[in-house]
């Protein structure tokens, strides 16, 4: 299970990482990062869920589209 971070309202930097809820780890959107590769693989395979920044689960199709747009 993963969750998106909220955008920082002061800097307006878009989140460049995602939270792994099982251990609170912050995983960067870096294709060379092993955890990030696992995240993308799990979402593509439909074996994990992504929540939006408010904690609402994204539909599987939306999650796949979201991940497909990431680096």
């Amino acid at each position: 299970m993963y969750k998106n971070y909220k955008q920082n309202p002061q800097t307006n930097y878009p989140p460049r990482s995602i939270e792994r809820l099982s251990d609170g780890a912050c995983i960067p959107f870096d294709p060379a990062n092993t955890d990030y590769a696992n995240f993308k693989r799990e979402i593509a395979a439909g074996t994990a869920e992504v929540q939006d920044a408010d904690g609402q689960p994204m539909a599987a199709a939306d999650a796949k589209a979201y991940v497909a747009a990431l680096p």
């Binding site: 971070y5 800097t11 930097y13 251990d23 609170g24 780890a25």
Partner: protein, 424 residues
Amino acid sequence: MIVINGSTGLTLPNGNVITSATVSANSGTAALPNYTGTDTDTGMWFPDVNAVAISTAGVERLRIDSSGNVTGLTLQSENVSPYSGRNRIINGAMVIDQRNAGASVTPTDGQYSVDRWKTSLNVASKFSLQQSTTAPAGFINSLLATSLSSYSIGAGEVTGVQQLFEGLNVADLAWGTASAATVTLSFWVRSSLTGTFGGSLRNSAANRSYPFSYTISSANTWEQKSVTIAGDTSGTWLTTNGIGIQLYFSLGAGSTFSSTAGSWQSGNYISTTGAVSVVGTNGATFYITGVQLEKGTVATPFEFRSFGQELALCQRYFEKSYDTTTAVGTATRVGTVDWNFANMGTYGVVNIFYRATKRSSATVTNYDPDVANTVGLRYWNGSAEVQGTGSRDGWYGSQNSSRWALGSTPQSNAVFHWTASAEL
């Protein structure tokens, strides 16, 4: 044999006497060199075409190959070698244990025990791993695997530990090309079991494998093993910051992942057919240390690096705020990030710079410094310091730093530990 003047031998002008000489038509061996004195296991021989070697006491000490490369030379000064940096293994002496600080773990797949040694399994809770102080002479640590049951491994099951080499660190081996270099793997091993054990080298896609075997002859006795492996001229071998080579020591593997030792094969194999299964005997122990993978055909003495050097190499892949000998998740304020700010308003931000540049942008985790093994932090909520995560937004990781931002919940300070992982 030359005999002149009966038993006297051949007297030279300087008074020396040659009593016997042996000239062999073959190339000789380390144990029986071609050219010797009266000591027949010490001398010069010819291990290959256009190559020459010297052995003493039946052991090869020096070799010059057809290209003029010299291998196996050990200087008189102990533990000093002209080949600094030859060991491609990081933490081969098992001295760095940042995560667990010597504590035993029953690992899940992908979990680390000592640094750089990654658990591989698809069947849970069959063995534990721990940094051990049982070690052969000259070493202070080993990695200990202990079987937790008498488990009959299934055909598609695997258990073991592996080290994944970053492609950038093995690019010079030129594997996957006609120039693929030969490597030699050496290690010290000890087990309560005897017999033939297995392991393998694989590429990142795990579709090229070289299963190897080694024999432990005596139970509960340290033995040094070496395996020389001709480089793979086929397959795809990454030379990037991805996985270059996977080295696997099996603790038990099913038939699907086992094959014949001693050759490169297409497929995913991590052990050899019929190898001893450590997890098959309840309480069985398996220790390993002094692991070295080097270019060339000879196992040279283990390359000891200083503790600081070894730690720095490990920190390219994993780093923490805790002291070196403090396990991650320990309740302690030693080493915390103490982030004090006043009138923060909506957000506060702090950057943490790593000691070592990471292989990739790192996965970061923060820990409550006062509650053991709890993800989170301590913060001041306006009237008391409480445990929580704050409203963590926009944490940006890079190879060199993490940028930590808290939301509006913490009002004036936050305290936490952190880890950064860029493991393969």
